[in-house]
Symmetry: none
Subunit: 215 residues, 2 copies
């Protein structure tokens, strides 16, 4: 599927000319920047849709066409694929055994040692190890949360913008959910004359960042 991730070098008859024409860092930068204005463009599309919809109601004409089909979508950037680390079976085994030792919280020093150990079996970085443990613990904990809560109620979550509800997200968020809108939130809410009204309604918590005035 992704054999053409480096589509830059076409015309190769035989052999996979496998060269990177940009460093990951460069690619990351570009990706970021492109993503920025791609999102903005998406907002523009939404606005245009809104505007044309108004006109539509007046003239009765319909011209709702999407004129924005970028090469990538904010939901899935297909610009580049960043390869991610994959532990070798050997590494995985070692990691698993360390994890099973109960020393659930490997400190930084541990991480270094483990990384050094694992680097004998393949490329690896401390970040990889760190992430692995983080994920391992988090996911093992989530598995336990699948305790068949048998919630007899049916909380009707009508607002499922995500049709795929396979992920067992039966967790319980014990914190207040702030009515957060998505990235392109400028289209909703008040597009009235009060578009730019600052809504300084911060969900200020108890402590915040400064209990007192440090001035």
């Amino acid at each position: 599927m992704e054999e053409e991730r480096r589509g830059g070098g076409e015309g190769v008859a035989e052999g996979v000319l496998y060269v990177k024409v940009m460093t990951d860092e460069q690619m990351e930068v570009l990706r970021r920047q492109i993503s920025v204005y791609a999102t903005i463009c998406e907002q523009l599309v939404e606005m245009h849709k809104a505007v044309t919809a108004q006109q539509d109601s007046l003239a009765g004409m319909r011209l709702g066409s999407l004129y924005c089909d970028p090469l990538m979508t904010p939901g899935g950037h297909k610009i580049t694929a960043r390869q991610r680390w994959t532990p070798t079976p050997m590494q995985l085994q070692i990691l698993e055994s360390i994890f099973d030792q109960g020393n659930g919280t490997p400190s930084k020093q541990k991480i270094k040692e483990i990384t050094l150990e694992l680097s004998q079996h393949g490329q690896i970085s401390e970040t990889n190890v760190y992430n692995w443990f983080q994920n391992r613990r988090a996911r093992s904990k989530r598995k336990q949360t699948a305790h068949l809560p048998n919630n007899s109620e049916s909380e009707i979550e009508a607002d499922d913008e995500s049709p795929n509800e396979k992920k067992p997200k039966s967790e319980k968020h014990t914190h207040e959910n702030l009515p957060r809108t998505d990235a392109l939130s400028i289209r909703g809410t008040q597009t009235n004359s009060d578009v730019l009204s600052v809504d300084p309604e911060p969900n200020l918590r108890q402590g915040m960042y400064a209990s007192n005035d440090s001035s």
Copy 2:
């Protein structure tokens, strides 16, 4: 030539020896181009905001009906309901710019100003800003533990079966004064080319964070 000028950091990642065909200058060119586009888009958004707002406010004379509820549904609860704040690209840009300014720890007063500024681009609270800076600093500092004093990685190792890569986050740069333009600040920076001089909303950035009155 200058294909190896940039101290990107990585030259050989895994088995694959790749060359850098993009120079700093090329990169800079792309960056600036994208920056221009981003700025244009940003201004377009503002323009459309003004337009839609105007239409809406003039609905009494034009439409005469409150039919301005096409797709947005001001009270649309079904857009997305996330518990966690996610900065919009524009907000991110602004935050990054501020962060790169080296003004380090923003004081409480700064936070307020920044929050006010960012609220023009989406829902945000002071806590969000504070957390962002906290995380930003902490994580950028964690980018220093991946190199060994005598780590000669000039060797091309192709023995491993794990095609992986380090984690070069885009912000490898410490907040040192980069000679290049900052990460496209699509915000206040009035487009030098004055592409679309439509700025009917002077109150977009009233205070900004320029007013440094911290204690």
